[in-house]
Amino acid sequence: MKSATHDDALQGRLPLYDDTSSGLDGRQRSETSPQLLVRQSWLQTRRLLIRWRHDAQTVILALVLPSMLLVAVNLVFGKPVSTVSGTSALYGSVPMAALMGAIFGSTAAGVNLMREREQGLLTRLWVLPIHRASGLLSRLTAEAVRIVATAVVVMCTGFVLGFRFKQGIAAAAAWVAVPAIFGVAFALLVTTTALYLANTVLAEATGMVVSLLFFFCTGFVPLAQYPSWIQPVVEHQPMSYAVEAMRGLAFGGPVVTPIVGTLLWSAGIVAVCTAPMVIRYRKASMR
């Protein structure tokens, strides 16, 4: 095994994974095997996570800014919203800060993807015998990991401010899963947009969509505060569903309907975006 590797290196052909037998002949595991998909996706996920960890800006964006947003929202709107709704505003603002963290991060990841396309990394990976799906899959997995980390940090900030889980440990675990589901679906949307749009417009356009989602959300201000003509929109937009699901899981109240709503929205985004994203990613990789 060792000598085979050595021979290959002498011939200028380096082994790509250490568990395969020599050469690129028929005995090698096919690059479409599900086992390799898992292993290679994990490898690339780790690459992305290591990169983020070493980039101070990404760390601040993922771990510090959402908590700052939570503190600010709580200072400004905590009192009036609690007065109007009768329950602590934290059960709406903590979920919203976690979701905003998820969204901010996926926008940064979209920008990162475009940079890697410019630098030729995607093309480079495309010519290697790597499972075709691992590139995209690893990006989404890395997103999920980052979002869970963000949600946990925001949750801890919430604890300091007075946020509590009143429905037990299982509900708390589900609470963390909601932003992960919503965030991965949103990451899919941003990735698709990033692959189709110009660089400068992407950041500002998503920023605008995000602020609309943020301000017209039941986590920001109770539904009854909005003018009645816009209430249906506020009630049924994806972020309101996610916030309501998380409110139900932490404080109590309806859980099934908002969770179904979140899942339906996420499934809808996945259904609409997957095909265009894969087609465009392929194109971007083959440039």
């Binding site: 800006q57 400068t200 417009v201 609309l212 909005y226």
Partner: protein
């Protein structure tokens, strides 16, 4: 022998400034940047006015539209400053500044050109903000001089912040990530100000900060210039305007030498 010195170009700085300004402004008409600048003002107006109008009715006397429009003008200007940072950072990273440095251009000309592009964007954003304000019920209640004063003050704030943004962009190595880093502090600074609700609604320990931070000082000055229906806002006095101007002067005094240092170090 050829007289090489005779072939040196003798460019006019004004024309250079004009060419470089057009370089900044012309693409913004085509690539949607201007459209985004205008729709940002509209989005801020809608997304702050609709949810907060009822909620804040108990705390804010008079029309909430009148209360809100100065802060929307400020937000629009803050976002212009962010795009100024993005532009300057992109120029640095893509190497065109280095290129300008090797050409017979005065060191301040590219900066001046970028700044005129930024002011153009600020003016568009301000005009849209005032237009949106008129739609929801904002009015200028004082005489024309004060209206002009309002616009001039917003533009002056825009100039200062864009200058600072340009400086930050010039020293940053990562244009896209930087924009996100700047957005949230700006939004938080606006939220923890007298922009959305009066200072006495904040917890006591925070109130000194809320009152004295630059955003609030800008807002006191702008509200004084706009006036309101019941004439309940303070009149335009030195006491209202001076702190805002002092903050701006302070920012320029700090940013100016740093800017010179950044240009000097790059050469």
């Amino acid at each position: 022998m050829t007289d090489w010195t005779g072939m040196r170009p003798n460019p006019s700085p004004i024309r250079q400034w004009w060419v470089l300004s057009v370089r900044v402004i012309a693409p913004s008409l085509r690539n949607g940047e201007l459209l985004i600048a205008m729709s940002l003002s509209a989005v801020f107006t809608v997304s702050l006015y609709l949810p907060l109008k009822n909620l804040m009715a108990a705390f804010v006397h008079g029309s909430y539209a009148q209360y809100l429009i100065p802060v929307i003008a400020l937000l629009a200007v803050y976002f212009s400053a962010m795009s100024a940072a993005l532009r300057s950072s992109t120029d640095t990273v893509s190497g065109i500044n280095r290129r300008f440095g090797s050409m017979p251009i005065a060191p301040m000309t590219p900066v001046a050109a970028r700044m005129s592009g930024n002011l153009y964007r600020c003016a568009t954003a301000l005009a849209t903000a005032i237009l949106c304000g008129y739609l929801i019920g904002f009015r200028f209640y004082r005489s024309a001089e004060y209206t002009i004063g309002f616009c001039l003050l917003v533009m002056l704030i825009g100039f200062t912040l864009c200058f600072v943004g340009d400086l930050i962009g010039m020293v940053s190595k990562n244009p896209e990530a930087m924009t996100f880093i700047l957005v949230l502090p700006a939004v938080i600074l606006v939220m923890v100000s007298v922009g959305l609700q009066p200072a006495d609604q904040f917890p006591g320990w925070l109130q000194p900060f809320v009152r004295n931070q630059p955003t609030s000082q800008f807002l006191y000055a702008l509200r004084a210039c706009a006036g309101d229906a019941g004439h309940s806002t303070a009149a335009v006095t030195t006491l209202n305007i001076a702190p805002a101007l002092a903050w701006l002067a302070g920012m320029l005094v700090v940013a100016g030498p740093l800017y010179a240092l950044a240009i000097w170090r790059r050469r």
